[in-house]
Amino acid sequence: MKQDKVIGIILVVFSAFMYYQAIHLPPPLFGDVGAAFVPKIWFSILGISGVSLIVTGFIRDRKNRASGRDEVAVAHFGERFKGFLIHYRFVLSGFIIFFLYIFLMKYIGYLYSTLLFMPAMMWVLGPKTGKSAAVAALTTLGVTGIIYWGFVKVLKVFLPTGSLF
């Protein structure tokens, strides 16, 4: 339950910081209830919930120690990290590629960034075979084209054109 205690501490610090920010909001022009009133309630509840997570984490630890079910590291840090990377490699790749996609979209626009993003993502996630390459190429052209046509031509909605063009 170490995770819950760490999350609890983060929540307490975050709610205290935000409560402090709320205090500095302008006072109400009339009455007692201003812009800060309701957010202060939310931050207070969040802080109390954070404390609750910390306390229940400690209570659970004590119970586990008493019953001999203490949390023990089952593997060496290096092995655990390797296991983590294997399990989450596609997730991490997904986050990084999507981040780069948004970053690039701002400069080169929807069309070019999507034509780069989709094959890159499918190459990382999918099997490296000729068939999957053909599927990736067709899907990229199809999805990019249909979304462009649907939004820009039919729905008359703007898509990012990119600041470089």
Binding site: L25, G31, F90, V91, M121, V135, P160
Partner: protein
């Protein structure tokens, strides 16, 4: 009344109103099943097109989008676990587990029939109960609205799963996200840290898509070779409508209760299908003899959610047509369409333009038959989505999510919001924080704040929340709703101890 209905029939049963009603329904289903698109956005896109139509044709097209969108939201929710619209969030709780068990066809057919029946019930309620329902909703002051929303927020307790504290954290996280930006009462910027984009607050859509869609997509990528597998394996494509109907009619109270919840919530300004589906799901779970099975893939939850979200249509259109007060954003746009044609909405509408008011009721009725036919016959096409491998599906949907987030306000910032809330949603689910309470917080937070402050500005006396009968009734319901999960837990433990 029969004469008035016939007047509406004459108005709708012409080639063009019927054509636009059908095209609107198909467009609505497509808009509804695309994650990142909202029904409001679909109706907003239809609004400019109504310039070239008669008022009845324009209203018919918008009604079609609304009915199709509310029913279509379940398709992506059931198939890939991402609700197409906020109105189908609760459908995912049982619909997606059913699809994972290979019963996607049955889940979709149940949802479609429940949407159809819920919509028809709401149409009849609109027809027969318009005056008293609208009058009741009109009596609501900010005290009643706050108490109603507070009641809605207590649902967090039953959506929390194993840890109530984590459920509360998730709910408050949504409430805090909704409080960023201009203060809804005074316009004072809150928590923007000098960053211009934050002064406008977070748009609801990228937050919802991030928390629910993005995080779900990333979860699908976990594991060594998951990305190369299909999202749902062994999905049964066939279903029997007769069997599905029998299953639905075995739960008449669930269907009726959920549809009426939809009608009532729809009639309240500011509240809509995004609230009613969760509320109906919660009530169905509480009334069930087997609440522990909810969330594992049973049809009870789908019936509740889908009949409630389509039930909101009649409720939302009742005050819109009877009094000129919109029940939600979609019906507000319908009033906009009327104004475009020089028709003043209000209590006089039913006297001056009875053909339009009853035309809307008839169009709402017909649209459900269009929706039923299109969605039932199109289900096999939609189910084909599930055969796509994850490595093809994930990038395609991510592009759609990014573009959908951008398209609402043409703001690049909203795509970053999508990524930030997607990351937070993913981390929350990894650390076992339920996501549904966060969504509830984002939806209900601003309504709760505005009405609470409006009530205290009108009258600083806090006791009014408890002395006004309707407000008190909602507060009592809120307390009962908070106690109920604990009592249910106690009862279950007692039953387990006995067995």
């Amino acid at each position: 009344m029969f004469d008035m209905i016939m007047l509406g029939v004459q108005e709708v049963f012409k080639p063009y109103p019927l054509l636009f009603l059908y095209l609107g329904t198909v467009a609505g289903i497509i808009v509804g099943c695309l994650p990142g698109f909202t029904i409001t956005m679909g109706v907003a896109l239809v609004l400019p097109l109504t310039f070239g139509m008669t008022s009845m044709e324009g209203l018919a097209a918008m009604i079609g989008v609304m009915v199709g969108g509310l029913a279509g939201g379940q398709i992506s929710g059931i198939l890939i676990g991402i609700p197409g619209t906020p109105s189908s969030v609760a459908t995912v709780f049982d619909g997606h587990p059913m699809a994972k068990k290979g019963e996607a066809g049955r889940a979709l057919a149940t949802g479609t029939w429940a949407s159809f029946l819920g919509g028809l019930i709401s149409t009849f309620v609109m027809l027969f109960f318009t005056p008293p329902l609208a009058a009741a909703a009109l009596k609501f002051g900010p005290w009643e609205f706050f108490s109603l929303v507070f009641f809605g927020l207590t649902i967090i307790a039953s959506l929390s799963g194993k840890s109530l504290t984590k459920g509360i954290v998730s709910g408050v996280f949504g409430l805090i996200a909704a409080s960023v930006g201009a203060d809804p009462m005074t316009g004072i910027p809150r928590f923007d840290f000098g960053f211009n984009h934050l002064a406008g607050g977070f748009a609801f859509l990228p937050v919802l898509v991030g928390l629910f869609a993005f995080s779900q997509l990333m979860s699908n990528l976990e594991g060594k070779s998951r990305a190369q597998e299909a999202l749902i394996v062994g999905t049964k494509l066939t279903f029997s409508s007769l069997k599905v109907l029998k299953d639905i009619f075995r739960q008449p109270f669930n269907l009726l209760r959920s549809s009426l919840i939809g009608v009532f919530i729809g009639a309240l300004p500011g509240a809509g299908a995004s609230i009613s589906n969760i509320l109906a799901y919660d009530q169905a779970k509480k009334a069930s003899r087997h609440p522990e099975k909810f969330g594992t893939g049973i049809i009870d939850g789908i019936i509740a959610s889908e009949s409630a979200n389509n039930g909101t249509e009649g409720g939302a259109l009742t005050p819109t047509m009877a009094l000129g007060i919109p029940g939600g954003a979609v019906s507000a746009m319908m009033l906009g369409a009327l104004l475009l044609h020089g028709i003043q909405p209000g209590p006089m509408l039913i006297i001056e333009y009875p053909h339009l008011v009853y035309g809307v009721i008839v169009a709402l009725f017909i649209a459900h038959f269009f929706m039923l036919g299109t969605q039932l016959y199109g289900i096999k096409l939609f189910v084909r989505l599930t055969r796509l491998p994850i490595y093809v599906l994930v990038p395609s949907i991510l592009v759609l999510c990014a573009v959908g987030s951008f398209a609402i306000f043409n703001r690049f910032f909203d795509i970053w919001v999508l990524l930030i809330f997607g990351t937070l949603g993913y981390l929350m689910s990894k650390f076992k924080f339920p996501l549904a309470p966060a969504i509830l917080g984002v939806i209900l937070g601003p309504i709760a704040e505005v009405n609470y402050r409006r009530a205290l500005q009108t009258e600083s006396d806090m006791t009014l929340f408890f002395t006004r009968p309707i407000s008190l009734a909602f507060l009592v319901l809120a307390v009962l709703s908070l106690i109920y999960p604990f009592w249910q837990n106690y009862r279950q433990k007692k039953r387990q101890a006995k067995s």
